[in-house]
Structures are given as structure tokens and as C-alpha cells.
Point group: C2
Chain length 316, copies 2
Amino acid sequence: MTEVSIPTKEQPSKEQIADVRAFTRFYTRQIGLLEERLHKSAFSLTEARVLYELAHRNGLTATDLGRDLGLDAGYLSRLLKKFESRGFVTRAPAPTDARQSVLSITDAGRKAFEPLDRASREEVAGLLGRLSAEHREAVVAAMQRVQRLLGQNREPSTPYILRPLQVGDIGWIIHRQGVLYAREYGWNESYEALAAEILAGFVKSFDPEYENAWIAEREGEVVGSVFLMRKSAEVAKLRLLYVEPSARGLGIGRRLVDECIGFARAKGYKTLTLWTNDVLVSARRIYQAAGFQLTGEERHHSFGKDLVGQTWDLAL
Amino acid sequence: MTEVSIPTKEQPSKEQIADVRAFTRFYTRQIGLLEERLHKSAFSLTEARVLYELAHRNGLTATDLGRDLGLDAGYLSRLLKKFESRGFVTRAPAPTDARQSVLSITDAGRKAFEPLDRASREEVAGLLGRLSAEHREAVVAAMQRVQRLLGQNREPSTPYILRPLQVGDIGWIIHRQGVLYAREYGWNESYEALAAEILAGFVKSFDPEYENAWIAEREGEVVGSVFLMRKSAEVAKLRLLYVEPSARGLGIGRRLVDECIGFARAKGYKTLTLWTNDVLVSARRIYQAAGFQLTGEERHHSFGKDLVGQTWDLAL
DNA sequence: CGCAAACAGTTGACTGAGTCAAGTAATTGC
DNA sequence: GCAATTACTTGACTCAGTCAACTGTTTGCG
């Protein structure tokens, strides 16, 4: 939550680089500690890594292994030969390419790997066991975050899911909108307060028959949301549409608006209305594309800025 | 934000262990990639680590280095001898223990290390440079989180600081309280809505002359908060006291209440009042210790539970 | 098609990072 | 005051990992 003094758009800051290096040093040591016990076993660290991959993935070739683990081809070749001679691994000619063989681990290989695998699990369990349940959860979540952000598998298999509101969501959305609009448009804390007021009212008077909320979640994180509220029997209001900057470009905003429109139609509303500000350009594009018409504009001073408020309506 | 299906209080779950191991494998590879270029330099990885430590810390002995980097004493001894013969390092007899020497890096050592250091920085800059500014910030924050939680330096130098309200705080506090009380006491989303309503009102009608908020922050994270609101010229109300489970036991709750009391006295209030529920045991202890008296109790059904509300007053 | 370039994997020849055990001198603990 | 421990050194070794040269196969392109 610390705000960087000089927001660097393009280049990583010195502090960020230093922090990452500090983490790398730290984790290098951590890995060293975790492996200390293991390298007394029958397998070297690299052998263990290779066995692990073979045990957990199918249809691997030597090239795959070398690429994914960063190993020298020659070294790997010998290593596999040793495994084959001990009966831990078998090679089958690859159907498509006669140069390659498909590797698979044998039962004997799994059996030989098991103690090592268990030792590794115990080692990690010991590390985590020292922490409270709270901290343990937090560590795992943070690791996943690092891995996901740094990982090359940039596109998750499911780009996002929509789900109903849960406890914790409205606070999170208030927080993120507050921070985001402060950063992007310089709005002050009164916007955050407005979001809090709207959402408090939404939950308090929530009518599941005529109202709804959609939360976009991506890999366990909230990345967008929208709320549909009943204004009258004929008019529904779309409120607080937002998409995380990191999740933009996936069509989440459009999808959220479409869900609102579909729900409003199904519930028999005649009009879907919304209020926004002209500075929110990307949101406006979504509204326009969805068929909303601008029906009113007015200048106002809110959130510490001079703004132009806009009302958009969609006939359902 | 994913809720664990079966909350394990004592032992790390299989999933957590698997996740940590996955991360370790991932980062092992990552470190390998970062070092690929470096090991073409004049120094081995271990030599670089030793030089790094020497360049950034003072008064190190060989034992310190061996312990912190996990190196064999014999290997380290030879390594230092080599550095000494090249004029990168000097040894001075340790004042307290004639067996030890205090190591220090020379200017020549720094100079020899510099290209390596720069290459490492560039490598990391390259890694981070592929990310958007958003993602970059998130990665660094998550790494720091892992390091802090896993690091042995359990106690930060400043256990916590108090600061005024910032944009983003109220949403964050609503979120955390919602999640926390749902988890600990099974309260439903209406508590979160109540918190949102209270805080929206606080910000909207905030009178800095007679009202205040204190946020407890620890290593850049919000770990507690309290709000003081004006009820009348003579009565102030303390609201929404909370401390993160991970930061309990540091006296943060007590400190927040004390700040409220001091502020209320300074502003000439005659009474400080608050409303709580009897299930919030640790909060009650703080109020009692601070001299609050229980002045009323009533049963109510709120937040999906049968509760006993309590009013506590303190004469100022 | 045909041929050069690239690729998958193998093998030989190294090297140097890291280990292990035994030893010295100083310090600590009882 | 003496045994146990600690800080460091040294000798002897090994094995993980590198590099380059080679075989057979596939790909790309005129």
C-alpha cells in the first residue's frame, strides 16, 4: 500500500530492483536451507528436479526437460542414461520426430523418488509449521502472486469468472476504487466515501428479486465489479462499474455491462440508466458500444475536482 | 481472498505445502535464469554472494558469512584467502576474539565487484521491465511479504506506526473487518455494510477539529484502526476499533484506544462512549483496562447472529 | 526436389565448486 | 584448570556441470 514517490511508468525504480535482488538473495538462502537435508540422499538436486518433473508430467522429451529446468543437454543425456540403466526411466521413440524420445518414469523410479519427495514435503511443512495459520496463508498467497505475475504462462486458462457478492467484496471494491481513482484522476477521499455509502445501501436494502451484483474474479483475485440497483419498477440503475488496470483489455467491462443489461431485461425493467463522469473514457466507450445514449450532462465539483457528470440511458 | 475449505489451525495443509514447493521450483529456475549471464563473469555465484555481503555489511567475520550464506567453512576460508591475495579483502584481528578476523572489502574489491553488481541489476531490471508498472509494484510487494513473513528477523525495528487516514483506508478497513468477523464469528455481510455506512458518514461529515482517525501501519500494511466521532459537544464516540490477528499482542489496540482518550480529553469532551458486542472479548479487555464502565447491555439479532450488545462509557 | 541450416540427442574431455575430515589455536563452561 | 567447543585452516577428493565435436533427423527455402 505504500505509494511510490515518483511514479515510474516505464522503467523499474532503483528501489524495486534492490528489493527484488534482496528477495532473490533471501530465497537463494532459503532454497539452500530446504535442500541441505536433501542432498544427503541418493540423488543430487538436479536429479531430484528431473525426477520430479518426470513424476508429475507426461510425454516429456529430453529437450523439454533441459529447457524447463535450464540444464545442459549433455549433462541431461548422461543423467537420463543413468536413470534408464537403473530402471527408473524408459524411453519410447517419439511418434512425430525420430530424433526425440518420450520419457516416462517407471514404478521403480517413483518408488526411488518417494523418500526424497516426502523429505522435501516434510522440510516445507517444517518451514510453514513455524508460522501461525494466518501467516501461513499469507505467505502462500504472496508466493502464488509472485509466481503468477512473473510466470511466463501469462494467460491463465480461464481469463476470469463472474460470481455473486461475498463477504469482504464491498470493502475491497471501495478500497480499490478509492485508490485507483485517486491515482488516475486525483480524486480525493470523498469518492471513496461515496462508494462506501452506495454499497452500504445496496447491501442493506438488497432485493435479490430485482437487484444483483457481479464480481469478476481472476485467479482468486477480484478484478472487476458492477452493481444493478432498482430505482423504480421501470428503471434500473447500473452503478460502480470498474475493472482493475491489470485486467483491462479482456472484455471484462463489456461483459459486466452485458450481464446487467440481460438481468434488467429479464426482470422487466424498461430503462437502464447510469451516471458517470466524462473523464472515465474507457467506461464511456463500453456504454456507447452497448447502446446507451447520453441524456444529460452537468458540471459539478466533486471529489476535489471540477468534473462533468453524464447520465446515460438504455431503452430495454 | 479464497477461503480455505477446512481451516487448519495447527498443521500446514497438503495444498499449502504443494504450493510452496511449486514456488520454490519456480524460483529456483528463476534464479538460474538470472544467474545465467552472471556466471560468465570473473566470479562464481558464491564469490559474488560473498562480495555482495562484504560490500553491504561491516564488521563481518568468516563465521558470520558462512552462517548467513550457508557455506562450508573450509571452502570459505580458501575463498577469502584468494580474495585477500588479489587485494579485494583485508583481514584485521578481531578485538574480542583472537581466533576471528574482521573482514572488510577494499576499494579494489568494490571496483572488481561493480561490473558484476551492475550486470545483476540490469538482469533484474530486464525481468521487471517486461511487466506493467502495476504488476511490477505488485510483484515487489508480494516478494517483500514473503520475505518478511518467512524471515527470521521476526521483529521489525519499528513494530508499528500510527498515521492519519489516507485514500483507500476506509475501503480496506471495511474489507478486513468484514472478512475477519465473518471468519471469526460467522457474521454475515450486513456487518460489512454497517462498517461501510459508518465510515462513509465519517468521511462525509468529518470535522477535523473534533474528530479523528488513527491507522496503525506495520511495514507498509494497515494492521489496525480506530475512529473517534463527535456525538455531541460533550460526548465523543469511539468506533470500529480493530487489530489484525497477525499484529495482535503488540499493544496496538491499547495504543489506539489511548490515542482516542487523549484526543477526546484535549478537545474538551466530558464522556467517551462506545458500543460493542460481548463476543469481542479481547476488545472488551482493552476497554476495561482503559477504565471504561459497562453502562448498558441489550440482546439483538444482527449480522446473522444472536448477540449481546454492550455500551461502555468513560468519564474524561 | 534437393540441400543448407537448425535441431535432438550423444559422447569425450575437462574443471572447479563444494565436501569432508583432520588439525591448530583460542575461548568457554563448569 | 581442564574438557568441550569454537574459529579457522589445510589436504585430499569427487562429482555436478560445461564445452565442443559428432551423428542422425527435420525444417526451410530457392
